[in-house]
C-alpha cells in the first residue's frame, strides 16, 4: 500500500497555487497516495490577515511565480462564494479522479486569468477545462455531503495544530509551505519511496 501524504490546500492562497504542480508531481515520482484536502480560507474562518501581510504575499508570490515560470498577476480574489464553489467541485473531482486537473485549472483561472468562480461562466470554464461535466459539478455544489467533507478537511487542519496552507502531512510530520516540497521529497526518498531509482 502506498504511503499516504495529505495535502491541505486553499483556493484563496497564492502559495497553494504555486505549490500545486510540484505537489501533484510528487505522486508521479514517489510511491505515495497524495490526498488533496481543500480547506476553507483563513479569512472565511474568522481570522484576520494584516494589510502588510496581504501586500507582501502578493509581491512575494509574483517573484516566486516568475522563478517557477508560472503565470501570475491577472487575479480575481475568490474570497467567499468563489472559494466555496471551488471547494465543492474539488470534492466532486476527487470522486472522479480528476482533482489534479481541476485544482490546476482553478489556480490558473484565479491567479492568472482573473476568472471569477462565483459566476457560472467562470466556474464552468474551469471545470470543463479540467475535463469535468458541468451538470455533475452543479449537482455537487448543492450536495450537503460534499460541504461536510470540506468542513471535515478544515477541521482536521485545525486539529493537527496548523494555521495556514499549503501543508503536507506525511507520517504525522507537517511540511508547511510551497518552500518545503523539496524537504518532503527528501524525506520520501529517505523512506525508500522514490519510484525513479
Amino acid at each position: 500500500m502506498a504511503a499516504r501524504v495529505d495535502y491541505f490546500y486553499s483556493f484563496r492562497s497564492p502559495y497553494s497555487y504555486l505549490s500545486a504542480p510540484r505537489a501533484f508531481a510528487l505522486a508521479d515520482d514517489y510511491e505515495i497516495d497524495l490526498r488533496f484536502r481543500g480547506v476553507i480560507p483563513m479569512m472565511m474562518r474568522g481570522q484576520s490577515v494584516p494589510t502588510a501581510k496581504r501586500i507582501h504575499t502578493l509581491r512575494d508570490a509574483k517573484r516566486e511565480a516568475d522563478r517557477l515560470k508560472m503565470p501570475f498577476g491577472h487575479i480575481h480574489d475568490p474570497l467567499g462564494e468563489g472559494a466555496t464553489r471551488c471547494l465543492g467541485v474539488s470534492e466532486h473531482a476527487i470522486d472522479l479522479g480528476r482533482q489534479r486537473e481541476f485544482v490546476l485549472s482553478a489556480g490558473q483561472g484565479i491567479w492568472s486569468e482573473a476568472t471569477d468562480p462565483a459566476t457560472e461562466p467562470g466556474l464552468r470554464l474551469i471545470c470543463e477545462r479540467a475535463g469535468l461535466e458541468w451538470e455533475g459539478c452543479q449537482a455537487a455544489l448543492s450536495d450537503p455531503a460534499i460541504a461536510d467533507r470540506v468542513e471535515a478537511n478544515t477541521q482536521e487542519l485545525l486539529d493537527i495544530g496548523h494555521w495556514g496552507v499549503p501543508v503536507f502531512v506525511y507520517g504525522g510530520e507537517q511540511f508547511w509551505g510551497q518552500d518545503r516540497i523539496d524537504d518532503l521529497a527528501l524525506v520520501l526518498s529517505d523512506a525508500g519511496l522514490d519510484r525513479r531509482l
Binding site: L58, G161, W163, D179, D183
Partner: protein
Amino acid sequence: MRDWLERELGPRLIVAASTVTLPALAMARARQILGRSGRLEMYFGFDDPASAYAVSDLGRRLVGRNVIFDLRPVVQRGIKDDPALEPKRAYAITDGRRLGRRIGLTLSRSEAIAPQKTAFLATWAAAAPPGASLTRFCTEACRRIWFESDGEIEAAQYEPLWRECFGASPIADPEAVRLNEKKMSSRGPYETPAAWVGGRWFFAQDRSAQVADWLDELGWKVER
C-alpha cells in the same frame, strides 16, 4: 465597483508595482558611482532557529560582494494578536531541524525559546556597528544557541565570545533594539528572519537565492 477594486484591480496593481525596478536600480547605480557600498538589512531574532539558519546562509551569499551585512536583532515582532503564535513557535523547531540539515547542522534543541530569554544578546548586538565583528558574533552565537546547546542561555556563556569578536565587554542598549523593531515595522516585515535590500524585503530563510539574484541585478555582484 468596490468588489472589482478589491478583488481584481487592487491585487493586480500591487503585483504590477512590485515589478518596477528602475528607481532601485538607479539608486544602486548612483551609490556605485559614488564609490559607496550596498546595504542589506537583516532583521532576526536570537530566539528563532530560522534566523540562525538565515544569518549563516545569507552571510555566505554576501561574501565577495561590496554589500554591508547590516544585522539588526529584534525581540518583539510578529502579527498583532496572532492566534497562531504558539503553534508557529512550536513548528519553528520542526522547521529549524530541516533548515539545519540543508547546511549540514543538527538542531540541538527540541523546544522553543521565549524571546525574552535571548533579549540580552539583542541589546548587545543592536548597539554595535555592522561589520565583520558583529557578523562573526551573531553567526557564532546563533550557531551555539541552536546547533550546539540545550537548556538555559546565560550572558556569562556569551560574554567571552563578544570579547573575542570586539576586544571589549558588551554594553546593553535596549533602546537600540526598539529602534530596530520600529525600523523593521516601517520596512514592512512582520516576522523574522527578514532581509531588506534595494527597496524589497524577503523571507530570509527561504529567499536567499532571490536575494542573491536581486543583488546581482542591482550591480552588487560577487567580485572576489
